[in-house]
Symmetry: C2
DNA sequence: TTGCATCTCCTTACGCCATAAACTAACCTG
DNA sequence: CAGGTTAGTTTATGGCGTAAGGAGATGCAA
């Protein structure tokens, strides 16, 4: 489902992303649609039915048009994806308190971004191969940098840190988003799925504890504890991994800061 | 392009993954193919032409058959993907020296896994939503755990660490793999792509340095230094991010170890 | 006012994709 | 040799993105 934009006219892409509308009075029928309306409709489809349901036909239908009508406003599906991506990024918060240190602010940012990804899981499926170069993508990076600047790390190290942090949030959100998507698209919950397979692993792998002692010890094969908590199995794991992982990451950054000062 | 397996018979999936062949003499024509032959052909197609070229038709053609012939051996494309995934994971090394500490071993493991992902980039496109539960997936985890056991971290923390580390390698490889895929599928190199867009960003965003001072400072907009080095622009950045990120991660784990000891 | 260029939006069509259904032909067992 | 089972084919269905061409609306110049 991953598609690449940017094979078209770069100037056209950019002017769409930054919405430099010229308009003026022109011949021909008045446009019944607009880029914004199309992008909004596309976002709505993706939010409601997931990326796999996002087709030109579906977007057109939501606007009471055919698929082909969209091509008057948007060069192709890949560009539409880029527009959706940048527009929805605009929902991210941009202000974080700077008086409690970078650690608190970064924790808040990571939490917000992860929540955002889980709110619009399809965003995770937009290729990160090449930056979209839209205004909101830059804004997101600027926000992160305002927080990380407080570490006082030098530029080249900061670049690396930006990389790990963004990768971490994406990864943390992806685990959950993928699990939810799987549950929705297959109609099988994590629990059902697991209970159907867990005994089979034991059966086919002969003595599992002998073949994979450490995996067995880690308890990935344990059935989910039947808590009052109704959060799905995999998500409970993911939640914990997120907490631990974030701490590891923050400690690592702190170490880098300590090294750069000392 | 992400597809989910596991909507079929779990027992069938498992017996395919663990290759519990019954065979015996049966009526009907001799099978001209085998699950292994199909999986190998599919891996070859994915390696050579990428995941987007992996269709049942393509695999069948490579074996001199039609697409439909494969369905005798494999229930559907999603299951085939799982089989490809687990089989190719078998190429990963499993032994790492334990006499130089976990840090050295983990560094080597992360490097190997990243190299592996870049060798078979399509692996990154197999959904991680639910574990495949094949033998080689367990082996990979077991290998990582043999290394991480040396940290002496308690089980629950270790689970978190496993999560961050695997997410980190995936992320680090994805950046590069996506970039290469984009270059291949669009026929536009990173450099060409960048030179076409860089000036346009300045043009459309009015005073870029005023709007995004920190982004400008970070120099993401700098044109790539024209080194003797012929590694593409984005990959050079990625390489650096990988090094810095890994160090941050290792330091973070070390902090966790120190905390658990003290 | 007319004619035309231009624009929106539609219909149609092409070539992909996964896979369901029905068929042919090979083969083992009774 | 008959019957049932299996491997592999052909054909068809309903999806996808989007190229091509046409119909009707609109603003402007003559």
């Amino acid at each position: 489902m991953v598609v690449f934009a940017g094979q078209g006219d770069p100037r056209r892409s950019m002017s769409l992303l930054w919405r430099s509308a010229e308009a003026g009075s022109r011949p021909g029928p008045k446009p019944g649609l607009s880029v914004d309306a199309i992008v909004d409709a596309a976002i709505a489809v993706a939010d409601e039915q997931g990326m796999s349901a996002l087709s030109m036909r579906a977007v057109g239908e939501r606007l009471g048009r055919t698929a082909m009508a969209l091509y008057t406003y948007v060069p192709n599906k890949a560009e539409l994806l880029d527009l959706m991506y940048d527009k929805v990024l605009g929902q991210l918060p941009t202000e974080y308190p700077s008086d409690q240190g970078w650690r608190a602010a970064l924790t808040a940012w990571v939490g917000d971004v992860r929540a955002f990804y889980l709110w619009h899981p399809w965003v995770l499926q937009v290729s990160q191969a090449r930056p979209v170069l839209g205004p909101n993508e830059f804004t997101m990076l600027e926000t992160l940098l305002r927080i990380l600047r407080q570490t006082g790390l030098e530029r080249s190290v900061l670049r690396g840190v930006v990389g790990v942090v963004t990768q971490f949030v994406r990864g943390a959100a992806e685990v959950i988003a993928d699990a939810r998507r799987a549950a929705r698209e297959t109609g099988v919950s994590d629990e059902e799925w697991w209970y159907a397979r867990s005994p089979l692993v034991e059966e086919f792998s002969a003595p599992f504890e002998r073949q994979f002692p450490l995996v067995a010890w880690l308890g990935e094969l344990d059935p989910p504890a039947a808590d009052d908590d109704c959060t799905p199995y995999l998500e409970r794991h993911a939640e914990w991994n997120f907490t631990v992982g974030l701490e590891v990451l923050l400690d690592g950054i702190e170490a880098a800061v300590a090294r750069s000062v000392g």
